[in-house]
């Protein structure tokens, strides 16, 4: 990742309001431009963009069901995004969210089905930890390959996605297949329903919103503390900020990169576990819903800051829910949302140039004014 402006701002020992303002302004502008291009596409499809976007906003935030649904989708985005924050801050690009979600979901399905007699207070935390570990393992493999053999992590994480997908397809069609489906002869590609004590409590009756969302927010705070208040977190950021300098300072760069990729995998794994324990209550095909990719968008949009990723994931959760609503209301395939998300990524990373230049300009201005005062 390009150096962060807030790092430079620290030097002036001043809370940089203009910096934060500009850093939030650029992604929002990028989003606006992406939506404008989306509007042009809608016009070509002979759909009134205002109607379509109104349906989208209405679907995502216009009702209790809509809002809860938005929060349900925001949860995995946030969790994947937290992992992305850690990885990208260490200059490691984790494209493996999809595979890590699957690994977490697979483990979090298998574990409670085996230990189904355990009470809920024991089973829920252990299942979450098992999900974290499985995702972490899926991130550890590319991590160790990068650290030891310098294998490009972008490629290995992509390959690990494909492997996880096939592994899941294999398992839910064989050992994990729902016995009810086998006796009924339907052979649905899904797992058995999880024992009820491992289900996460629903926060609003009749909706899918569950305690998983609270866990995600709690973890966001933890990741913030981890990255900015602990030595390991400091090392990880130092590695991403300037690997050469970090190496000279005696920081083990490959180790920290592998660690950050492992942690990133772990958080995606928790996302998979919560999807299974809180939303679906079983493992089925398409469990990832592309969160592994859209989580990257959320993290980038949140400025690779764990707390900034919270509002960003709610925004993109809303976009996904709104996209479904739009598909039903004006018959525009929700693939439009994927295209818009892609454009948002392009514009946000593209605008980092201005963000850097502005930061330099502001710094020079501050330095000048300090000189004058002196």
């Amino acid at each position: 990742m390009p150096p962060e402006n807030d790092e430079k701002a620290v030097r002036t020992r001043r809370f940089d309001f203009t910096g934060i303002f500009f850093n939030a302004l650029l992604p929002l502008t990028g989003m606006l431009v992406a939506l404008l291009i989306g509007a042009i596409m809608l016009l070509i499809l002979k759909v009134n963009p205002l109607t379509a976007y109104a349906q989208m906003v209405n679907g995502a935030f216009g009702s209790v069901t809509g809002i809860t649904q938005t929060l349900v989708k925001a949860t995995p985005l946030l969790l994947v995004g937290l992992g992305i924050c850690i990885a990208f801050r260490a200059s490691v690009i984790n494209i493996g969210g999809e595979g890590q979600i699957i690994a977490g979901a697979l483990a979090a399905t298998w574990f409670p089905l085996v230990f189904r007699t355990w009470p809920g207070w024991l089973l829920i935390p252990t299942t979450l930890i098992v999900g974290f570990s499985a995702g972490a393992f899926w991130g550890f493999i590319p991590g160790i390959l990068k650290a030891r053999l310098k294998v490009n992590e972008i490629l290995t994480t992509v390959m690990m996605n494909a492997i996880a997908l096939q592994l899941m397809n294999l398992l839910i069609r064989s050992v994990l297949m729902d016995p009810a489906g086998i006796t009924a002869g339907t052979y649905l590609a899904q797992s058995e329903r999880l024992p009820e004590q491992v289900w996460l409590t629903r926060l609003v009756p009749q909706t899918l919103l569950n305690t998983g969302s609270l866990i995600a927010v709690g973890l966001a705070v933890l990741v913030y503390i981890f990255l900015w208040r602990t030595t390991i977190g400091y090392r990880i950021r130092a590695v991403g900020f300037n690997p050469e300098a970090a190496r000279f300072a005696g920081i083990n760069v490959p180790f920290n990169q592998a660690l950050s990729l492992t942690l990133a995998g772990g958080f995606a794994g928790v996302a998979g576990a919560i999807e299974v324990m809180g939303v679906q209550h079983r493992l089925l095909e398409g469990i990832t819903s592309g969160y592994g990719f859209s989580g990257i968008v959320a993290a980038l949009f949140g400025g690779l800051h764990p707390l900034g990723t919270i509002p960003a994931s709610i925004l993109f959760g809303g976009l996904l829910v709104g996209g479904d609503k739009m598909q039903r209301a004006v018959q525009v395939p929700n693939s439009l949302i994927d295209a818009i998300l892609g454009l948002v990524v392009l514009f946000v990373v593209g605008s980092a140039l201005w963000s850097r230049r502005w930061a330099v300009r502001r710094q020079m201005a501050t330095a000048k004014s300090q000189e004058e005062q002196a």
Binding site: L149, L155, V158, M159, I296, L341, V345, L346, G350, L353
Partner: protein, 310 residues
């Protein structure tokens, strides 16, 4: 099981392998151009998807395979310009902008497919052309010389790409820009222009790779037609050490494993298809781990160039 070892089956596997290597060759050699100039384009898969859709749609409506191919080239060029603008002019982090391009391509191709075609249809694409004389050799002729023009083109691209990279001024410029942009710049090479050219060349080839799927190998289009082949093509560039010949071997290795897996399923050999589909990916990871230290990557790979920065 004995069927596997019959000559006809071996010939069948090899014929499929040659065919299946086509999209990898176009996309990976294109990506090699891009990476040699210092730009990692991870959006190959997205470009392939949109180009595959565009060429399929044009062939479906006009019945002209050449117009279809042209459509793929135009799409490749446009998406290449977008990628180059973000990565070269705006100096964005390339790995992430590539993912953005991929998501954009995936969404756009699916959107267009659902709104303009809707159901899976087939077209008559590029037909197999038998090469005179060579095509008449028993077995060998069938394996190597009974393919569509796009397949021959992919294999011809290998020596052409080698010649351009190793024997021309253009190739020298591309490599110098990827190796040491500051030095190239001081010698009067326009770094940005060379990178734009390389990224767009790569994207056009990625477009042709997409077309080779939708109007030559499969003759159909569906959501996410490429299923990640563009990413594998990027991996093949590393595997092949940024050299066209290395890429050729990588592509053939990969496509042979794939063809073997497909034929095993056709013959009803009992290995779960999911395990079989997993094989090529495991192979790629293993291959990357083995190959990566053999050759040095372009020194300025993944590094945007800004004048005046060390």
């Amino acid at each position: 099981m004995n069927d596997v070892f019959q000559l006809s089956v071996v010939a069948g596997i090899l014929t499929s392998a040659i065919r299946l290597a086509t999209p990898y060759l176009y996309a990976a050699i294109g990506e090699a151009f891009s990476q040699r100039s210092g730009v990692v384009n991870l959006g190959v898969d997205g470009i392939m998807l949109v180009a595959a859709y565009a060429s399929f749609f044009i062939v479906l409506t006009t019945n002209s395979i050449w117009l279809g191919l042209l459509a793929a080239i135009v799409v490749g060029l446009l998406m290449g310009l977008l990628m180059a603008f973000v990565s070269v002019t705006l100096k964005a982090e390339q790995g992430i902008s590539g993912i953005g391009l991929y998501m954009f391509g995936l969404g756009l191709s699916s959107l267009l497919f659902k709104t303009t075609i809707g159901t899976v249809k087939t077209v008559t694409g590029f037909q197999a052309v038998k090469i005179p004389l060579l095509g008449d050799i028993p077995v060998i002729g069938e394996i190597f010389f009974h393919h569509s023009l796009l397949v021959y083109g992919a294999f011809l691209l290998v020596p052409i790409a080698w010649w351009v990279m190793e024997k021309t001024t253009l190739g020298l410029r591309i490599k110098s820009v990827g190796q040491n942009p500051a030095a190239a710049d001081s010698l009067g090479v326009n770094v940005d222009r060379v990178r734009y050219f390389s990224v767009c060349t790569g994207a056009i080839l990625a477009g042709i790779a997409g077309a080779s799927l939708s109007i030559s190998l499969l003759n159909l289009f569906q959501d996410n037609l490429t299923a990640g082949q563009g990413f594998i093509a990027v991996a093949l560039v590393y595997f092949g050490g940024w050299r066209p010949v290395g890429i050729l071997w990588g592509a053939l290795l990969f496509s042979t494993v794939n063809a073997f897996q497909l034929w095993m399923q056709v013959l009803g050999v009992k290995i779960p298809s999911d395990v079989a589909i997993m094989l090529p990916y495991l192979l790629t990871i293993a291959a990357l781990a083995v190959a990566i230290n053999r050759v040095r990557q372009p020194a300025a790979l993944n590094k945007p160039f800004e004048r005046g920065e060390s």
